[in-house]
Subunit: 448 residues, 2 copies
């Protein structure tokens, strides 16, 4: 990674036995493994065999009444990643956690803990939780307002960073001779008092190997992009065409200078659901097998939530009913717009739309040979539409194995991806150093 422009980043976005809605019904998966921690540990090892930067787990704090999702996150991601950490040595471990329904102190501590346990491999996908079902589980009558959620997210993350910084790396002394465990002058009380939070600090965890987890963001609305530009180091996003990808990429990067950051400080990783086979025809046939297994019942409930209209009684072979404007959506704005535009542009019936969304809920699906997949990634990368990719295997573990064992070698041959790990931390895979405490810096300045 001597030239960060030349190689790209690969994250494995893992979900149950695969991203495809119907993955668990397909013979390539063993459906009961959604409940088996060993399945996930194995996925971690496969990702590591492919020298991927990281594995990543999404999360939602509700399943809703009558089980809207048929692939649900059984495990709380940080706990699950702690179990995966002990099965792996290099691969980064990114967990989703909500700033809307957590306390900063608890969450900062949890990620510090994961970073310690994994020897510096933790990442945090920061989300604001855009579903009504989640709001109902935390005492709300409706989704908290979109703008307010992002305001809270910003204060939350700024505070979490201070909490991680409350311990300088030199704070731990552990000198049995003098009996000094920690140097109190290097452990900082914050006395933080902001609009939403008051926290004295310090954090109850010594500084972790990376200083703080890699900060990742995954909302693409206006507020989401602004938040990412200020605070994130990587962005997951759903982009359907190379042109849209380029636009999003330029848009995000152009926001960075306002925060004193440069284009390299924030990596953009669009998602891709790859169906891989020996020939393109076989890959397309494989994708079709999955599409054919979708239960419209579940899919309609998910789509209804996403679009803010009740489609459960809507005719499958009719076009969508009129949809609200993005401004009326309090949940995920960018995904709403992506799906709305897709349906309108391609004049899809509800059934066709469900088929298109089955693979990755709006993320781009590509069926092809290993070479075709590699060509596509290279094209996006070279066109300035991506700094790397969020690989979303439609079925697991097979879909991840195919990517790691068939696509990654091609990317390596082309010099687009690392052939071995050159670091043991997630920040290291991104070419970043561990972060020192902001308070340590001040002190040096003060004594200089």
């Amino acid at each position: 990674m001597s030239n960060p422009r030349k190689t790209f980043h690969l994250n494995a976005f893992l979900m149950g036995v695969g991203h495809h809605e119907a993955a668990w019904r397909h013979p390539r998966t063993e459906e009961h493994r959604v409940l088996d921690v060993e399945h996930f540990r194995e996925l971690g090892r496969i990702a590591e065999r492919g020298t991927l930067d990281s594995v990543f787990f999404a999360d939602g704090l509700a399943v809703g009444p009558r089980i809207k999702r048929n692939a649900l996150a059984v495990f709380e991601p940080v706990t699950l990643l702690a179990a995966i950490a002990t099965a792996t040595t290099h691969v980064g471990l990114i967990a989703t956690a909500s700033t809307t329904y957590n306390e900063p102190f608890n969450l900062a501590r949890k990620f510090a803990s994961l970073d310690h346990i994994s020897g510096g491999r933790a990442g945090w996908n920061i989300v604001t939780s855009g579903s009504e079902d989640e709001a109902f589980n935390f005492g709300y009558d409706a989704i908290p307002d979109h703008a307010r959620r992002y305001e809270r997210a910003q204060e939350f993350v700024d505070l979490a960073v201070r909490l991680w910084d409350s311990w300088e790396s030199a704070a731990i002394v552990l000198d049995p001779e003098t009996g000094i465990f920690a140097d109190p002058d290097r452990v900082h009380t914050l006395d933080y008092s902001g609009e939403r939070f008051r926290v004295r600090g310090p954090l109850n965890s010594p500084r972790s190997p990376q200083g703080r987890p890699l900060l990742v963001q995954a909302g693409s609305s206006e507020s989401g992009k602004e938040f990412a530009a200020r605070s994130a180091e990587a962005v997951f996003t759903a982009q359907r065409t190379i042109e849209e990808g380029q636009r999003f990429y330029r848009d995000l990067k152009s926001r960075l200078p306002r925060y004193g950051r440069s284009a390299d400080d924030l990596k953009v990783l669009p998602g891709l659901v790859p169906f891989i086979a020996d020939t393109e025809a076989q890959a397309l046939a494989l994708e079709q097998e999955f599409t054919d297994l979708i239960s419209p019942d579940y899919a309609l409930r998910q789509l209804s939530t996403l679009l803010g209209v009740d489609l459960t009684e809507h005719a499958l072979d009719a076009p969508l009913p009129p949809l609200p404007a993005e401004s009326e959506i309090e949940g995920g704005k960018s995904r709403f717009t992506l799906v709305k535009e897709l349906a309108e542009k391609e004049e899809l019936t509800v059934r066709q739309l469900i088929g298109k969304l089955g693979g990755g809920r709006g993320h781009r699906t590509l069926a092809g040979t290993p070479e075709q997949i590699a060509d596509d990634l290279q094209a996006w990368f070279e066109a300035g539409a991506a700094d790397g990719f969020n690989i979303m295997p439609p079925y697991l573990p097979g879909g991840l194995e195919d990517f790691v064992d068939r696509v990654v070698p091609i990317l390596r041959e082309r010099g687009l991806f690392r052939t071995e790990y050159t670091a043991t931390t997630l920040r290291g895979h991104y070419g970043l150093e561990p972060v020192e405490s902001q308070f340590a810096a001040n002190e040096i300045a003060a004594t200089a």
Copy 2:
């Protein structure tokens, strides 16, 4: 365990490199291992070699300004236990978590996750967080009132139980043929609306192997005992003499019938810090080595917090200053009283008191041969002062190894402790079955 009256329970209460305040300064420990997850995984394996019921981690949500503790919990317990789960197969995994500074939905989910990851070995030590330092990290100006904390704890636990029960064990269908992932009639919306919480449910996790974690409680105040009598399945407690132990034991057990429970439904586990050596003289000398390593500085700060008076400027060789009454203490009431009575009864100077508390912060310390330790445990058990013990090794891993390899074999020979595991879940070690959902029972009643 055919006769639960005849054998007892053993929990390993683990802390850093040992319970003794000065453990990390003693040559029997490697101080840097407080930061090493492999140290803790090894402890799990040692406990399992001894067929112990469980390992347990305490937790506090603050270190306070200027680092009051010299042995701090680096890792968040649930995350740490997920890492230990993958290094072990049988031993129970008990994590402390606060009902005062968590959300019921998040915590219920975390324990469900640990129970899934460990195949049914999770336990929850329910605490209400009695320190001011913790309150300051969560937006409070003072410790929330003791009685209110326990009221919240009660509502919290009742709600957590409902959340775990929101999925019946038969809810997961996973039938690829019909495409039915979960049976929505067996996943229950709660629409819970109580004094402090409103949660719609269901939980975002299928029922875990044990149905719910083993519920453990560790406060011994009047409110704490009442709470335990109603909701806990095991109680950790600090009792200094066999007579006090008997009184506490009878007191707790006598409260159970009021809640429709019998004496066997709640196990009482007093703590013991064992110093083990070939001869009693050697064991006492070993204990003295640890006492001599205590830094009064740290110890005074801890004692000040515990007693609610500032002792940091107090003469070490003077008796304690006048102390407040228990009713004025908003933190841990029972520990306050235990320490106050100890100091008064034995007319201790501050220095002597610090020495006595060094091993286990008020828990009983016993220095002796393996036989003496075994005799003592047997005496407490047979006198009706304990259903088992919370073993608190003063240094780690050595102190746990000595207990497992030298004391456990004697207990086994005497028929007081299991020779092998007869179950793979923590509830199983307690002779309990997995718990079925309360909603499943109702349904059967309704259709009967």
